[in-house]
Symmetry: C2
Subunit: 297 residues, 2 copies
């Protein structure tokens, strides 16, 4: 425990050491992400990455979560492969709630084999490498992270919480009416009351600045009253369907990587110059794992 001595001695020998060295800049969430090694990132599989190109040229990418909503994710993959969403539209934008897209006529036939799973809102917690976030949650017994996803859980069950940017399966009143053809994304404060009442199937990785800034609909539930207000969807593809040179490639930080642990610690205890009183806390929806476009090369 005297390993600091040589450093002190070395310091004493310096000709002119400032009396008070400048305090090193505190780590920020951004600096932790920038410093994370390549090994801290996992590629989103190209056959689990939805690429939605809007008619106005803007793009949205969505990572699907087969570990949490396998039956719905299988439907969504089949719908994308059938190019079912091409020519559909964004039909509903309700402020501080959701942006929703699909077939506005509700009459477009589904491809063969697409059946609405009943419920599918959660899964057994057993078998998940759950890393608990050490802070209270208002809604769930515990919250934390599993394999790049933010997760809420009870003793026995686990589910993806309705955070900003999470994608869920629209349904009617009956629990077996959501196929995955009608999807929505949360665009405001997390509507956690929907947890375990709807299947959450993924997360928007890019394009939230588009989906969250669309004009709000003025009809009931934020539906557009005039079809001209809808934003057209040109195509929805799996990244794996696109030519290799044109595939977007995204990475999510591994939630069992040391960099993620550091990022959580810094997010919960902001010490950069702006903050006078670190929160010493973090809620699950403020801790969705960092994402980035896969670096070239």
């Amino acid at each position: 425990m005297i390993s600091w001595l040589p450093s002190i001695l070395a310091l004493a020998l310096q000709p002119s050491v400032p009396a008070t060295p400048p305090r090193p800049a505190a780590a920020t969430p951004g600096s932790v992400v920038a410093a994370a090694p390549a090994s801290a990132w996992a590629d989103v599989p190209a056959d689990r990455l939805l690429v939605m190109d809007l008619a106005d040229g803007r793009r949205v990418t969505i990572a699907l979560s087969p570990d949490f909503a396998a039956a719905h994710v299988a439907n969504i993959v089949a719908l994308a492969r059938a190019h079912w969403w091409d020519g559909t539209s964004i039909n509903r934008v309700q402020d501080n709630y959701v942006t929703q897209w699909g077939d506005a006529t509700e009459a477009k036939p589904l491809p063969p084999g697409i059946v609405a799973p009943s419920r599918n809102y959660d899964r057994p917690a057993a078998g998940l490498a759950f890393r608990a976030l050490p802070y209270r949650d208002s809604y769930a017994a515990a919250v934390g992270h599993v394999g790049g996803w933010a997760v809420a859980r009870s003793r026995d069950r686990a589910w993806l919480p309705h955070c900003y940017g999470m994608v869920g399966v629209g349904r009617n009143l009956a629990p077996d009416t959501g196929t995955g053809a009608e999807l929505y994304v949360a665009i405001g404060h997390a509507p956690r009351q929907l947890d375990r009442n709807i299947a959450v199937v993924g997360r928007v990785l890019s394009g939230m600045e588009t989906l969250a800034a669309l004009p709000r609909g003025t009809g009931d539930l934020g539906f557009y009253t005039d079809p001209a207000q809808r934003t057209g969807i040109a195509t929805v593809r799996l990244a794996s369907e696109l030519p290799p040179g044109k595939r977007p490639a995204w990475q999510i930080m591994k939630t069992d990587a040391p960099a993620f642990t550091a990022w959580i610690r810094v997010r919960a205890n902001r010490m950069d110059d702006f903050y006078e009183r670190p929160a010493a806390a973090l809620d699950i929806c403020n801790s969705l794992p960092p994402v980035r476009a896969r670096p070239a090369g």
Copy 2:
């Protein structure tokens, strides 16, 4: 405890009672609000109601909270009376964070007497008629409601939490640099890490569908890179300055009214047909008190 007997007897005498009467429709948050008596609503004082008219004709109204940020609210009232914001603009929109407005040049002189209070982020909890929300909060020891406002608290201090729609005072790094001339509103998941690091001065009552749907800025922190991207602010007035026939009038539900207690219960335990599993919980940012335009007459 036999007071039900006459009813049962009366029922038995009915000629044709359906075997299974239809279940009465469950209360929804909306039905509780619609049924709330006039006595459950409090007028927002016209001299604490900011009316911001944008250059494109859209309007935003903001209730100020003198009980929580008196010194900043006094500045904001003085700035509105001086018509200081007329001709300024919305300069920053950062996705899932804030929309911010003020003088883009940062050079416009302030009216005499406007001095930045130091800190002013919270206040003593003593003396507040705090009604606790009976659910956990990720960030504060307790959360609840006081006089129409959602409030977070420690043992000794209380503050307005950074929820969607709450308005705060922009500042630079030093804690005594925010006058109230530069304001922002939270437009995404609640950035509660800002609590007690910034003075929160009010809440947007109408117009969030405008402020939250503006194009995101592409510069650092979401600032617009081209002045043409800014949304102009035509005027900001206190409602009390407007001619009586042109004053908007807003009401906030009284948080000590029975209707509010019922609304919280229904929000936390959704029993309407869509919900299969009521959350039995509610977070503070999903419990901002209902507001409405004051009914005519």
